[in-house]
């Protein structure tokens, strides 16, 4: 007794599905075995990718760290967040390496990380967002305690600070700042104005101390 594959629709369907299962399973096996570095071509591919990412890192590390440092006012936090930002860049490197200018993308990631970090820090019980909290892990803190710029920056809200630093220090256009911070163009305009005015007032106070 045999199976009439051709005439039995159920068998036909079953055969088709079995074939699909087998193809999927082998595709899974194939992909899993296709680990980078498994052949000469992959070695070259791996090296090229590694080199490209390293170049990318060196191109942007000062900007990203500097931005995060200004946002968090803490060297260790900036250090940790910069690593996280570059890890995310690595995870999306195949996409962002095709960008003509990947900086806005990177700043957007860094902004999100910084704002999340500041929100968590502000939400911690007992302590509040105070000047003393910033820079606690910074070895050079005593030196910069008198840093009027730093203290003036602390007077700004995180969004104002991010907008001001991204725009004035790192040269992002208002639209790019808006994309980085999830704000409209008008909101960025207002944030920049308030940041400038607040910073100016705080800076003048600090200067007079």
């Amino acid at each position: 007794m045999g199976i009439d594959w051709a005439s039995d629709p159920a068998c036909e369907l079953l055969a088709a599905r079995m074939w699909r299962e087998l193809r999927l399973a082998f595709a899974t096996l194939w992909r899993a075995g296709d680990a980078p570095g498994s052949g000469d071509a992959d070695v070259a591919h791996t090296r090229a990718g590694e080199n490209a990412f390293e170049a990318f890192f060196w191109r942007y590390e000062r900007q990203i760290f500097g931005f995060l440092w200004r946002m968090t006012m803490d060297e260790q936090s900036a250090y940790d967040l910069a690593q996280e930002a570059f890890l995310r860049a690595w995870q999306h490197f195949s996409e962002i390496s095709a960008f003509r200018d990947p900086a806005p993308w990177l700043f957007r990631v860094a902004s999100n990380l910084a704002l999340t970090h500041l929100r968590r820090r502000a939400a911690r019980p007992v302590t509040t967002l105070s000047e003393d909290e910033f820079g606690a892990s910074d070895p050079g803190r005593r030196v910069v305690e008198r840093d009027a710029v730093r203290r003036a920056l602390l007077r700004l809200t995180p969004n104002q600070r991010a907008a001001l630093v991204l725009h004035e220090v790192y040269g992002l256009a208002c639209d790019e700042v808006g994309q980085a911070l999830g704000l409209s163009r008008d909101a960025v305009k207002m944030a920049l104005f308030r940041a400038r005015e607040n910073f100016r007032a705080a800076y003048q106070r600090e200067d007079a101390r």
């Binding site: 039995d8 999927l24 096996l29 992909r31 090296r47 590694e50 080199n51 440092w69 690593q83 992002l172």
Partner: protein
Amino acid sequence: MTTRQALCAMNLTPADLSAWRSRVLPDDAYRRIAQHIPTCRACQATLAEYADLADALRGQQVPPTGMPLWRATKTKIDAYERSHMNRSQNYLIAGGLGVLGVLVLAFVVILATSLPANSTTAQPTAIIQPTATGTGHKHPTATSVPRPTPTAMPLPAGWTDARLPYAKDISFGVSDPQTGYVCGNLYNGTQGNGTQNGAPPLELGVTHDGGATWQGPMTLPFSYGDCRIQVNPFNANDLLIGEFVCYGCDGSALYPRTWYRSLDGGATWHLVPIPAGVGEPNDYLIQYFMWGGQTLYMQILGAPGYIGPLSLAHSLAASVNGGAFTWIDSHLNVASLGSHISLGLMGTVGSTLLVSYLDTTPPASYGFVATSDNGATWSHFTAQGTVGYRLYPSLDGTTIYSTNGSGVTRSSDGGHTWMNLPVLPATPGALLESAQPLVPHLPASSNGPVKAEFGEAPDGTIFLGVPVYGSSYHDVLYEWSPGATQWRVLDNHGPGTFSAVTVDANGHPVAVWDTIIVYPPTKPGVLTPLLFGLASHSAP
């Protein structure tokens, strides 16, 4: 910071001026305010405050990062990749189980369908759904790939190995052409890209006999992966070294970091100060520098997002000879130059500083802006003649050269009119394309200087290294003497990137210096050139 006092006759508020500064106003409003500002002290004061604010922010000294941050990042990436790989292994197991399940199911189905006709037929819903098929998202891994031991290519006839394996750049004095310097570090072939930065330290070699013998190497007190060196043409004991982050150290990606200066022939060094108010030193890329008259110009790339090196922000530096660096604002609104601006090398002709740019707005054209007052005012003009955007000033400051589709062109009137030197002989694969200016062998990611591609001896002899791509990469080194009707090919199997010319007391060239390609092929047919070591070719 200044204080606001006067009132604005136009009733502009600080919010208006903030918006104007940020360029978020409609064009007509922007222009109206721009015309008003020069006449309004109140607005000027407010804008000056905002400018001071920006200067203060940029002037903050950001803590150093460099290698520690890279290593920490790489560790994090490695951990991510390991976890990624573990997931892949899980998928492999799941996939295997899926296959097994399918086979078992098939066996059951076959058994079932082999039963008598009144038996229950297996239903499609009983089929096990596909297992996970992997992420399908593949990243380059951070796996370290050991590099083969470097070996030098055989030198072409006429070339002598200078036995300076650490040398990556070379510069000879103009006032004392017998004195020259090389800088670089020794690449031992086992270091990864990152470890090129920081160790081993940079070295300096010195010659006082035109390169016949070299003293050193002296270890320099700073160390990133690559360097560029320039001797003050008026004082051979005065030299600058630009320290570059080196990725790959093949000259393809050099990111300038810091500049050091020695006034005693390399015995002692000091950091070239980049004053507060112009940004973090490391955020500004010093792309090229040269001596023009008594002034040192530097081209500074702005932070990401700036349209180019010369923005309204401080980005152009000048120093009187003596090292008292005074940073000037270029006052050059690059946005006015066009939509896609490619700023080229700056050159000096007498006291004029030229900046060329490519405006790709159709029809694409090259234009120039020039200043004779250190950037206070700029004039715009379009060059007469075919000129590329890379400029090479002559040693005496009277002539400026550029490269175009057919070779070299020069101008003696500040860039207004250009005349071609004899056309270069056709070289298959040479990067002298008619559709674009000569593009020296610098990948798009590179910000490295290109001075090595062009050289001029005091007697007017010109050397030009033209990179050629084909089955292998090499330079063709051309020589042109004043009055000659054609270029002479000095070598068409050139080892690397043309670097320098040694001249005698009369300014006649006696040797040209080039880099040796020492890196063996990474895959068949592809050579990776390393700026590593020097060879000299005696001029006839």
